[in-house]
């Protein structure tokens, strides 16, 4: 199957899923007890003002009608305007998505770069000293609450040691952000040769990235270890030993046969980091999508919440398409399914 056809089939499969996601978030937001009208109107509003706001927002229409209008807009690529800021939700999300993706990329990237080799090494000698040591470490990574870890890191590295800049967002207040190209200060700084901006962006990134790396590495270590141990005890590896394959070749075999399940796991993990991302962004005042979503939920900004959830769903689907494709590259025997 060609890649184009694969993409097409995937897209067709995804459409009903997306409609479902839109429907469920739409309904959940509305029955969730959030009251945007009260917030917009303020404490001194009269009943008439209430009614007119409700009418403006279309909240007096029956639910099915509200939904069909919204769905029609979404299909045309219009996620509506935020009721609180009157800004276009899609524009807001686009800007912030890059910011969050940058953090996610470095955090999970480093988490995987550390976690996968560590997990493999632990698997090659289960219950050995290294394995026991990493088990304690990853238990720590599992049990630590994300926001607490973030706060402690700020306390230690900014307040006590002074090694890192204050957690006030993505760039020092003293540096002018570079011209916008991609939306990532680091990349834009490098592209426009604004080294001061790139350096400031990088040093702001360090703490939240480490924080995310720690939180995401723990499950990666655990899964990688489990996957590799399973491969090590498989018929394939047994037979490889029986054929006298040298240790080096056997390790390569184990690596190749573990790659796909590990990758798939990392993909699942990435799509499941939504909550973690929101917390880290909040603590570090990151201003990305996670923080945006959290704010939208807290303030009952219906259109923003709906847009946020929809974008997350699209993101998950994209991640899995990418993984399918990478698996296809690693594992030529598999069909794109």
């Amino acid at each position: 199957m060609t890649f184009q056809r694969f993409l097409l089939r995937r897209a067709l499969m995804v459409i009903p899923l997306m409609i479902g996601v839109v429907f469920i978030t739409f309904m959940l937001v509305r029955i969730g007890g959030l009251d945007p009208v009260g917030r917009l109107a303020g404490p001194t509003a009269t009943q008439a003002e209430f009614d007119s706001i409700r009418n403006n927002l279309g909240l007096d229409q029956p639910l099915w009608k509200q939904f069909s209008i919204y769905l029609g807009n979404v299909v045309r690529g219009d996620l509506g305007e935020s009721w609180l800021s009157n800004r276009s939700v899609l524009t807001d999300i686009k800007e912030r998505a890059v910011i969050s993706l940058e953090l996610l990329f470095w955090g999970v990237g480093i988490g995987a770069l550390v976690g996968v080799p560590v997990g493999l090494r632990a698997a090659f000698r289960p219950n050995g000293r290294f394995d026991q040591f990493t088990r304690v470490l990853s238990l720590f990574g599992f049990s630590i609450p994300t926001y607490w870890l973030a706060l402690v890191m700020i306390f230690v590295f900014f307040y006590l040691l002074g090694w890192s800049p204050p957690a006030i967002g993505r760039m020092s207040l003293l540096v002018t952000p570079p011209d916008m190209i991609t939306g990532s200060y680091l990349i834009d700084g490098v592209l426009t040769a604004r080294w001061d901006a790139a350096r400031s962006a990088a040093s702001q990134l360090i703490l939240p990235v480490i924080c995310l790396a720690i939180v995401s590495a723990a499950p990666i270590i655990k899964q990688t270890r489990a996957i590799a141990i399973e491969v090590l005890s498989s018929d394939t590896v047994r037979y490889a030993h029986a054929c006298g394959l040298p240790e080096r070749n056997v390790r390569k075999l184990v690596l190749r046969n573990s790659a796909v399940p590990i990758l798939t796991y990392i993909g699942t993990e990435v799509t499941g980091l939504v909550g973690t991302m929101s917390l880290i962004e909040y603590v570090f005042a990151w201003g990305g999508l996670g923080q945006y979503g959290l704010n939208a939920i807290i303030s009952g900004d219906f259109t923003a919440v709906q847009g946020y959830v929809l974008v997350l769903a699209v993101f998950s689907v994209l991640v899995f398409i990418v993984i399918d494709f990478v698996v296809y590259l690693i594992e030529p025997r598999s069909e794109l399914s």
């Binding site: 005890s233 498989s234 018929d235 394939t236 047994r238 037979y239 490889a240 030993h241 029986a242 054929c243 006298g244 394959l245 040298p246 240790e247 070749n249 075999l253 190749r256 046969n257 594992e331 025997r333």
Partner: protein
């Protein structure tokens, strides 16, 4: 020189239980046999008897908690039990080839069949790649895989069970082994395919002149295929000898039952059908391992049994070997 000589091999599973007490499962208890070049030895026995474990112990494929605690395995005069892995790796897949039970899951799923054959040849025999490639095609031809050129390009998951087993046979032949160990090579295949694979195996053994150790549940396979037989029970070889001798005059009660329990064509006695629990390896009785299941057992059977030679080259591990008929009347499992 004897090609393979296994002497008094003891393999145990050593683990710790919840109270951190050491537990020992005595899975092999003094296995001895030898195999001359060009001979075919069949090991039979019920499930759990230790047949596969014997094969794994020979080629050093035990995994913890299994461990050889005593005994020796000599292959061409070299001791294998204390050989370092790197050196063993030069023998495995090369001088000693193995054919295993689950061919489809045993092949590397991410490598084309032909490449696996070439890789195996390169690792052990070296030489130019083109020569390995040529050899791979020859061996695929020899094991009766149609159209080797295109088969070499298939992935393991595209093969049927029978074809995969043929590929494993081709793998085994790649480096012209002196000893072939086949652990239940036909279990899990269709009955008709089983027969084909066995016929193929037999012709290959003759053609390539390999000593062969074949592990099976099936006495029929032994009768048609092997020169010698070793009957295993509870981690011991209870009877061994040439196939002709053992089938004509089984000297051990267990062998008699085994033969009686197989279809008529092998039926030579009228002993009771097989039955009963396998012995508890963590807690073996003193004396004969069969005593709780043996119709001939007496008090004497609780004492250490020695291998008795009932005829030349025909041994049985029983106090009453060779004189079961005249065995005294004090039976305890009557």
């Amino acid at each position: 020189m004897t090609l393979l000589k296994v002497e008094d091999l003891h393999t145990h599973f050593i683990s710790r239980d919840l109270d951190n007490q050491i537990c020992i499962a005595k899975a092999l208890n003094g296995v001895s046999f030898s195999l001359e070049a060009g001979r075919v030895l069949g090991i039979v026995g019920e499930t759990g008897a230790g047949k596969s474990l014997t094969a794994q112990s020979i080629v050093g494929l035990l995994r913890p908690p299994a461990k050889i605690v005593a005994g020796s395995v000599r292959f061409e005069g070299r001791e294998l039990t204390d050989m370092p892995d790197a050196e063993l790796n030069r023998i495995r897949g090369n001088n000693i080839a193995m054919v295993v039970q689950n061919p489809r899951t045993s092949l590397d799923p991410l490598t084309r069949v032909g490449d696996q054959l070439v890789r195996l040849h390169q690792i052990h025999s070296g030489g130019p790649k083109t020569a390995s490639h040529k050899r791979a095609l020859e061996m695929m031809e020899a094991v009766g895989l149609p159209d080797p050129e295109s088969r070499a390009k298939s992935w393991p998951h595209e093969l049927s069970g029978g074809m995969a087993q043929r590929v494993l046979l081709a793998m085994a032949l790649m480096n012209s082994p002196k000893l072939l160990i086949a652990d239940e090579p036909t279990t899990g295949l269709d009955v008709t395919v089983q027969a084909q694979i066995l016929d193929l195996l037999r012709s290959l053994v003759a053609r390539f002149d390999m000593a062969t150790l074949i592990i099976t549940h099936d006495l029929g396979v032994v009768a048609h295929f092997c020169n010698d037989i070793a009957v295993m029970f509870g981690g011991s070889i209870v009877e061994t000898g040439s196939v002709r001798d053992v089938f004509a005059a089984p000297a051990h009660p267990y062998t008699r039952n085994l033969i009686a329990a197989t279809p008529e064509r092998f039926q030579m006695g009228r002993a009771k059908a097989l039955g009963g629990q396998p012995p508890d390896l963590y807690n073996l009785p003193s004396g004969c391992v069969l005593q709780s299941r043996c119709a001939y057992a007496t008090e004497l059977c609780q004492t250490t049994v020695r291998n008795a030679e009932v005829a030349e080259g025909h041994f049985a591990l029983c106090h009453y070997a060779g004189r079961l008929e005249e065995q005294p009347a004090v039976k305890i499992n009557a």
